[in-house]
């Protein structure tokens, strides 16, 4: 489903920094992969390279057979196949909850208003927010906003969902409701790449865990492997700090 080969990314501002250094990874259809690692290790950068919000400097990325980095690739239609959920929600504050979930469908997928609204209501019901359809994002709690953001991404019928620390900006009591939605997605067989510090989620749902540090994937394996017998010294150190 996703294949990254020797992906590197350099930032020049404020100074030259190798944020990703020859990262390779493969994610199959229906797989849930959790990426963990210390702050600044390049997790977000890697995730953002997958839908070209950051343009990788070298290497290859294929998503569902599409070469994301090729010049002739229509990146907009490629992105429509990948849902992205951000740490800071990034809902559109000038649109209602319902409009947030329909706008992509009508503008990008060219669905009729009617069809888009039906789909949006179904998704909002699914994340438990049908009653908030007419509200504006600013009037919602963080957990509710993030669930709307997930519905917004799902409305495009994506083949992959990318999550960048979806619960890090939430108050502790709201983390659960968002994780529940993500777990149900995973159970339904959605292909998911999730950057998170929620080890419980990783243990329960992940098929595979990748540990990143200093722009590289240092270790990968099943959750059991990670939580029982990590091999790399830095993995051990990281896990001992957060568990």
């Amino acid at each position: 489903m996703i294949k990254a080969v020797n992906v590197s990314k350099i930032f020049y501002v404020p100074q030259r920094l190798l944020a990703l250094s020859n990262v390779s990874a493969e994610i199959s259809r229906g797989e849930v992969v959790v990426i963990i690692g210390p702050s600044g290790s390049g997790k977000s950068t890697f995730l953002r390279c997958l839908n070209r919000l950051e343009h990788a400097d070298s290497g290859h990325i294929y998503v569902d057979g599409v070469d994301i980095l090729a010049k002739k690739t229509d990146i907009n239609s490629a992105r429509a196949e990948m849902g992205m959920v951000f740490q800071s929600f990034n809902l559109f504050p000038h649109k209602t909850v319902l409009e947030n979930v329909t706008i992509g469908q009508t503008v990008v997928r060219r669905r009729s208003r009617r069809e888009a609204e039906d789909k949006a209501m179904a998704l909002l019901t699914r994340v438990g927010l049908a009653a908030k359809a007419a509200a504006y994002p600013d009037n919602l709690s963080g957990g509710q906003q993030q669930r709307v953001a997930i519905a917004r991404a799902l409305a495009m019928d994506p083949k992959v969902m990318l999550f960048d620390e979806p619960t890090s900006a939430l108050d502790p009591e709201m983390v659960g409701e968002v994780l529940e939605v993500m777990k149900s997605l995973a159970r339904e067989g959605m292909t998911m790449v999730v950057v998170t510090h929620e080890m419980g989620f990783a243990r329960e749902v992940a098929d595979r865990v990748l540990f990143m540090d200093q722009g590289q994937i240092l270790e990968e394996g099943t959750p059991e492997h990670f939580f029982k017998a990590p091999e790399n010294e830095r993995t051990k150190l990281f896990l001992s700090q957060i568990l």
């Binding site: 907009n76 429509a80 990948m82 559109f92 000038h94 503008v107």
Partner: protein
């Protein structure tokens, strides 16, 4: 603002409000007293004629002869004057007809006429100021939007042109720019048009061009700042839904930027209305030039200049009411 203000006793409030009114009256009285000292005679009754004036329109015969026929034609009557082998037909307002069938008329004789209420110089000037401002604002917005977006573009051609334009315009006085539009570009363009037997462009349009181009540069900076004030996460969210750059601008970024842009934009347009007073120097008879003409004929400069400033206040205040209304509407939606 008022939330941060201290609450005072009623007596305190009343005292200082009264003090305000009294001092306001005092300032006006002192001004009046000063004009009395120099024996200035206030003649406010002379002002209204510059708002509306009566004009007598007379229809005169061009030939010698007699009135051959009078036939009604709607509100008017058509009068045929027949002379020595020549004939003339005139349209005269029915109410103001002053000849009868068979009357002898000589060249210059009045066949009929009417009094018409026409707008005075000050109203014409106000109208022209409004017109010039509205048209300049319209083109200024288009120019500013395009330039503001170009300023943020990745393309160096667009970016450098927009920077050049913005810096050039903001770096010199509007007065000089009006001179350049009129004396340099105007002369060039109209001479070239003349050489190719094309009609000339009237001065008014060089005036409008100078105002629109001037405003466009400021609008561009307002637009740029407005767009940059919208968090990057917004366009990233839009783009990751698969929207292209245009769609993300159109549906997500610009609508949000517009709300923040509106107040500074209104300020810019209020300046524009006031700056249009400079157009008098290239013989465009907007409100200020009209006022100066009225001063010359009426010899009542004090009244007329006050009236002029009140008319500007009316225009600018109208515009701020309009933007307040728009702002409230935007917040509701």
């Amino acid at each position: 603002m008022s939330s941060g203000r201290r609450r005072h006793s009623l007596a305190y409030e009343l005292f200082w409000k009264a003090a305000f009114v009294v001092s306001l009256i005092g300032v006006c009285w002192m001004l009046y007293a000063a004009t009395q000292k120099i024996d200035y005679v206030w003649r406010w009754y002379r002002v209204p004629q510059y708002f509306v004036s009566e004009r007598v329109i007379e229809v005169k015969s061009g030939i010698q002869g007699e009135v051959a026929s009078i036939a009604p034609e709607g509100e008017n009557v058509s009068v045929v004057v027949a002379g020595d082998g020549e004939e003339e037909t005139h349209l005269v307002p029915a109410k103001g007809l002053r000849v009868g069938k068979g009357d002898a008329v000589y060249p210059g004789d009045v066949l009929g006429g009417e009094k018409k209420i026409v707008p005075g110089i000050l109203i014409e000037g106000t109208w022209l100021t409004l017109y010039v401002s509205a048209v300049s604002i319209f083109f200024g917005i288009i120019l500013g939007l395009f330039t503001g977006l170009s300023r943020l573009s990745d393309n160096p051609f667009l970016r450098w042109w927009s920077i050049t334009y913005i810096e050039l315009i903001r770096g010199s006085p509007l007065l000089v720019q009006i001179y350049i539009w009129y004396f340099v570009l105007g002369t060039l363009i109209n001479n070239l048009l003349n050489k190719s037997d094309l009609p000339q462009i009237p001065t008014l349009w060089f005036g409008i061009a100078s105002m629109a181009v001037f405003t466009g540069a400021y609008v561009a900076e307002i637009v740029r700042a407005g767009i940059q004030s919208i968090h990057r996460g917004q366009s990233e969210a839009a783009r990751s839904l698969g929207m292209n750059a245009y769609q993300s601008m159109r549906h997500i970024v610009l609508p949000q930027a517009f709300r923040r842009i509106l107040p500074p934009l209104a300020g810019q347009f209020i300046s524009l209305i006031k700056d249009s007073s400079l157009l008098g120097i290239i013989a465009i008879r907007e409100l200020t030039k009209a006022t100066r003409e009225v001063v010359t004929v009426s010899l009542q400069p004090f009244e007329i200049f006050f009236v002029c400033s009140l008319l500007y206040l009316l225009l600018t205040f109208g515009l701020s009411l309009l933007t307040n209304y728009l702002e409230r509407k935007l917040v509701q939606s």
